[in-house]
C-alpha cells in the first residue's frame, strides 16, 4: 500500500509541480494503480508472487542485508510492469513538455526532478524485469525508486520555497521602490509643471496626466481621450509640423521628437505647448505600439520671448535712428567744408569749360588743349559725384546692414570727406595703416560715423594749439582677432576722471557740444561686438581707440 500511495503521490506531484502532466493520463494511471492494488490483494500472495516459498537474505552493496522472497512469480505482475512503464511514459511526457518551455527555471526542474524520476524509474523497471526473468537476485525497488524521485522533488520544492520567499522580499522592496519612484516622478512633473501623456497607438487612445487639466481644462478624470480628439485641439498651422515629427519618430527615423505647438484650451485661447516624446515599445516587426512623453505649457515664456524680441527690435530701431540723427547733425557741422569739397571740382569744371570756349574761338583752334580740358572736366565731374555719393551714403537712413568692411578704407574715406575741414582748421593728419588688414563684419556707414566723430573730436582737441602743433595720428592694427583703430591728438587731454564719462550721453567737454557723439559711437561699436575707450597719451593729448572683431571666415569676407 505505501508503495502505491507513493506512486500515485508522485504522479500528482509531478502533475501539479510541473504543471505539464496530462490530467487525464494522471487519472487513468491512478485508476490503473487502484486496480493493481485490488489484484494485489485478490490474487496469490501479492501481485508479484504466486506463493512465497521462503525469505532469503541477500547482500546488496556494502554488506547491507535485504530479505528477498524466493517465490513463484504471479502472472498478474506483468500488468504491474505495464503500469510502471505507463508511469515512466507519463513522467517522460511531463518532463519533455516542461523542457520544451525553454526557460532556464523550467529546464532546471525538468532535469533534476523529471531526470531523477526517469533514470531511477528506468533502472527500477529494468531490475524488476531481470528479477522476473530470474537473472539477478535483487529486491523489487520500485517504491524506493519513486521515493528517491520524490526526495528530488522535495529538494526542488524546498529550494523553490526559499526562492519564492526571496522573490517575495524582492517584490516587496521593488514595490516600495516603485511607489517611491512614482512619487518622485509625480513631484518632479509637478515641480517642472510637466504634463505626461501615454499614447496606446493600436487602441488610438491617449492617457493624459492631471497637469493637462490645469493647462487645457475641461477633461473628465482620469483623462483618456482618443488621439483624433487630441489632434483637433492642435493649432492648424502647427499640426503639419507636429504630424511630420511624430511620423519620423514612429517610423524610427529619429529616436525622439521635440516641437513647440499651440493647443486650444477650454476657453478657446491658444496655449503654447512644448512637446517631447518617444516610442516606448514596438512589436517584433518594429511597429510602434506605445509612445509617451511630456508636455509643458510655455505660453508665458513665449510671450516673454516675443516681448523681448520686440523690445530688442525697437531698441535696435531707436539706436539706428539715433545714430542717423547724430550723423546728420555731424554732417551739418561739416556742411561748410563739404560744400567746399563739391565746389572745388565745380569751379575747375567751369573754368575749364570757359577756357575751352576761348580756345575754340581762337584762330587756329587749339584742339589739343580742348581735348585735354574735356578729359579734365570728366575727371572733375566724377570727383564731384564721388563726394555726393559719400555724403548720401552717410545721410541715408537705412536698416543696419552687415557687410564685410575694410577698416583702412573707412579711415581713408572719412579723411577724404573731411579734407577741406582739416585744411580750414589747419589740422594735419598722419596715418599709419596696417597693410592687408582682414575685413570686419559691420555697417560701413555707422563705422564711418564713429571714425568721423573721433576725427572731428580730435580737431576740436587741437583747435587751441599753434597751427603747426595741430596734428592727429590715425593708426590701424590687428590685435587679438580685432581690428583696432586709434585716433591720437596732441591736445590738452581729458581729465582722468572724465575718460570714461565722455562716453555717457550729454557729457561734453566742448562749449557747444551736445554730448551725444561719443555716446552714439559707443552704441555703434558695442552693436558691432567691439569696444571703444579713451586713454591719456604719456606726453600730451588723448588717444581714442575702438575695436571690431575680425570677420570669422574667409567665406564671410568674400
Amino acid at each position: 500500500v505505501p508503495a502505491y500511495v507513493l506512486i500515485v503521490a508522485s504522479i500528482w506531484s509531478i502533475h501539479f509541480f510541473f504543471g505539464t502532466g496530462s490530467a487525464r493520463f494522471a487519472w487513468g494511471l491512478t485508476g490503473f494503480y487502484a486496480l493493481l492494488l485490488a489484484i494485489n490483494f485478490l490474487t496469490g500472495a501479492s501481485i508479484n508472487y504466486e506463493h512465497i516459498n521462503a525469505l532469503r537474505p541477500i547482500v546488496v552493496w556494502g554488506g547491507v542485508t535485504v530479505p528477498i522472497a524466493d517465490a513463484v512469480v504471479n502472472p498478474w505482475s506483468r500488468l504491474e510492469a505495464l503500469a510502471f512503464v505507463l508511469w515512466i511514459v507519463f513522467m517522460m511526457h511531463a518532463t519533455v513538455r516542461l523542457w520544451a518551455r525553454g526557460d532556464r527555471d523550467s529546464r532546471r526542474k525538468a532535469a533534476i526532478v523529471g531526470g531523477s524520476f526517469l533514470v531511477l524509474g528506468v533502472l527500477g523497471a529494468s531490475l524488476a524485469q531481470l528479477r522476473h526473468e530470474g537473472l539477478v537476485d535483487f529486491p523489487y525497488l520500485r517504491a524506493w525508486v519513486v521515493f528517491a524521485g520524490l526526495l528530488a522533488l522535495g529538494y526542488e520544492l524546498s529550494s523553490d520555497v526559499f526562492r519564492a520567499a526571496e522573490l517575495a522580499r524582492q517584490v516587496h522592496v521593488t514595490e516600495a521602490d516603485a511607489r517611491e519612484q512614482a512619487e518622485r516622478l509625480r513631484l518632479a512633473l509637478t515641480g517642472a509643471r510637466l504634463a505626461l501623456w501615454d499614447w496606446d497607438i493600436a487602441a488610438g487612445t491617449v492617457y493624459l496626466s492631471d497637469r493637462w487639466q490645469e493647462i487645457v481644462g475641461g477633461f473628465p478624470q482620469p483623462i483618456v481621450i482618443t488621439f483624433r480628439a487630441l489632434a483637433t485641439m492642435v493649432h492648424p498651422d502647427d499640426f503639419p509640423e507636429l504630424r511630420r515629427r511624430l511620423r519620423e519618430v514612429l517610423k524610427g527615423k529619429s529616436p525622439e521628437y521635440e516641437v513647440d505647438h499651440r493647443v486650444r484650451n477650454q476657453s478657446g485661447e491658444w496655449i503654447w505647448i512644448h512637446s517631447r516624446g518617444e516610442v516606448v515599445s514596438r512589436d517584433a516587426n518594429g511597429k510602434a505600439l506605445r509612445m509617451s512623453g511630456v508636455n509643458e505649457d510655455i505660453t508665458a515664456r513665449r510671450l516673454a520671448e516675443e516681448r523681448f524680441r520686440q523690445s530688442e527690435a525697437d531698441l535696435a530701431q531707436q539706436r539706428s535712428e539715433f545714430a542717423h540723427l547724430s550723423r546728420v547733425s555731424m554732417l551739418g557741422e561739416l556742411s561748410g567744408s563739404l560744400a567746399h569739397e563739391l565746389n572745388q571740382p565745380l569751379a575747375a569744371i567751369l573754368s575749364n569749360a570757359q577756357a575751352a570756349q576761348r580756345f575754340l574761338a581762337q584762330n587756329p583752334e587749339d584742339l589739343r588743349e580742348v581735348r585735354e580740358i574735356l578729359q579734365d572736366i570728366v575727371d572733375d565731374d566724377k570727383r564731384a559725384g564721388e563726394v555726393i555719393r559719400r555724403l548720401r551714403a552717410l545721410l541715408r537712413k537705412e536698416e543696419i546692414a552687415h557687410h564685410p568692411v575694410d577698416c583702412n578704407e573707412i579711415v581713408l574715406d572719412v579723411l577724404r570727406l573731411m579734407r577741406s575741414d582739416l585744411v580750414n582748421r589747419n589740422v594735419s593728419v598722419s596715418t599709419q595703416l596696417a597693410p592687408a588688414l582682414p575685413q570686419v563684419t559691420g555697417d560701413r556707414v555707422q563705422l564711418q560715423q564713429v571714425m568721423l566723430n573721433l576725427v572731428i573730436n580730435g580737431c576740436d582737441a587741437v583747435d587751441a594749439l599753434r597751427p603747426r602743433d595741430r596734428q592727429l595720428t590715425v593708426r590701424t592694427a590687428l590685435v587679438d582677432g580685432h581690428i583696432e583703430v586709434a585716433v591720437a591728438d596732441r591736445g590738452k587731454g581729458i581729465a582722468p576722471a572724465d575718460l570714461e564719462r565722455v562716453f555717457e550721453p550729454f557729457v561734453t567737454t566742448k562749449p557747444h557740444g551736445m554730448g551725444l557723439g561719443l555716446a552714439v559711437c559707443r552704441t555703434i561699436v558695442t552693436a558691432h561686438a567691439g569696444r571703444i575707450w579713451a586713454a591719456r597719451n604719456p606726453d600730451a593729448g588723448t588717444t581714442f581707440r575702438f575695436t571690431v572683431p575680425v570677420a570669422l571666415t574667409k567665406a564671410a569676407a568674400a
Binding site: 561748410g336 560744400a339 567746399h340 565746389n343 572745388q344 571740382p345 565745380l346 569751379a347 575747375a348 569744371i349 567751369l350 573754368s351 575749364n352 570757359q354 577756357a355 575751352a356 576761348r358 580756345f359 581762337q362 588743349e369 580740358i373 579734365d376 575727371d379 572733375d380 570727383r383 577741406s420 582739416l422 585744411v423 580750414n424 589747419n426 594735419s428
Partner: protein, 206 residues
C-alpha cells in the same frame, strides 16, 4: 617795364589748372603755384601784376599770405577766391586791401573783370609809388635852409613873414623860394603845395 603777370595760388590741382587755362586763353601772362610757400619762394616784387589767391589752403592760408606780403611791403593787388562766401573773412580781406573777393565756382566775366581792375589798381599804385619816390628824391636835393623855406611856404605864409621868422631879409627868401620851385619842378605855388603834401611835409605854422 616787363609785362604784367597774373599769379595764381590754389592747392587744388584741377582748379589751378582750370584757372591757368582760362587766363592763358584770355591772353594773360600766367604763373601758377600750388602753395603759398612756393609762391613766396619764387615771387619777384619787381614784377608787376596781380595775385589770384585761394583762401583755404593747408599750411599758410590765403589770408596769412596777404599779411605776409603786406609785411614785406609788396603792393601786389589780390583777388581772393573762396569756396564758401564767408562774410567775416571777406570783410577782413577787403579791409586789408584785397582787390576783390569772389566765390567759387567763379564765372570768367567776374574773374576777368576783377583781374583787370586789380591790374589797373596795381599799375595806379605803382605809378603813385613812383611819383612819390620822385618827389622824395627831389626833396632830398633841397638844402636844409631851402627845406625850411618850403615848409613855411606850404603853410601859406608870405615871403616877408618867412623872412621875419627865419631872421633874414625878404630878398634872400625870394631867392630860396625860386630855387625850391626849380628843384621841385613846380610850375606854380599850388603844384608845390601838392607835391610837398604828397611827400608828407606839413607846413610850419608858428
Amino acid at each position: 617795364m616787363s609785362k604784367e603777370i597774373v599769379f595764381i595760388v590754389d592747392d587744388d590741382a584741377s582748379v589751378l589748372k582750370g584757372l591757368r587755362r582760362l587766363l592763358v586763353a584770355s591772353g594773360f601772362e600766367v604763373a601758377a603755384f600750388d602753395s603759398p610757400r612756393q609762391f613766396i619762394e619764387h615771387y619777384d616784387p619787381s614784377v608787376p601784376g596781380c595775385l589770384v589767391l585761394d583762401v583755404a589752403m593747408p599750411g599758410l592760408n590765403g589770408m596769412e599770405l596777404q599779411q605776409e606780403l603786406a609785411a614785406r611791403g609788396c603792393a601786389l593787388p589780390i583777388v581772393f577766391l573762396t569756396g564758401h562766401g564767408d562774410v567775416p573773412t571777406s570783410v577782413q580781406a577787403m579791409k586789408r586791401g584785397a582787390a576783390d573777393f569772389l566765390t567759387k565756382p567763379v564765372d570768367e566775366n567776374d574773374l576777368l573783370a576783377a583781374i583787370r581792375t586789380a591790374l589797373e589798381k596795381g599799375s595806379a599804385l605803382r605809378r603813385e609809388r613812383d611819383e612819390l619816390a620822385e618827389v622824395k628824391r627831389r626833396i632830398a636835393t633841397l638844402t636844409p635852409r631851402e627845406r625850411e623855406v618850403l615848409e613855411h611856404i606850404v603853410a601859406g605864409k608870405r615871403n616877408k613873414q618867412v623872412a621875419g621868422e627865419l631872421g633874414t631879409v625878404e630878398k634872400t627868401v625870394k631867392v630860396h623860394r625860386a630855387r625850391v620851385m626849380g628843384k621841385m619842378q613846380a610850375k606854380s605855388l599850388a603844384e608845390l603845395v601838392r607835391l610837398a603834401e604828397r611827400a608828407g611835409i606839413r607846413g610850419t605854422l608858428d
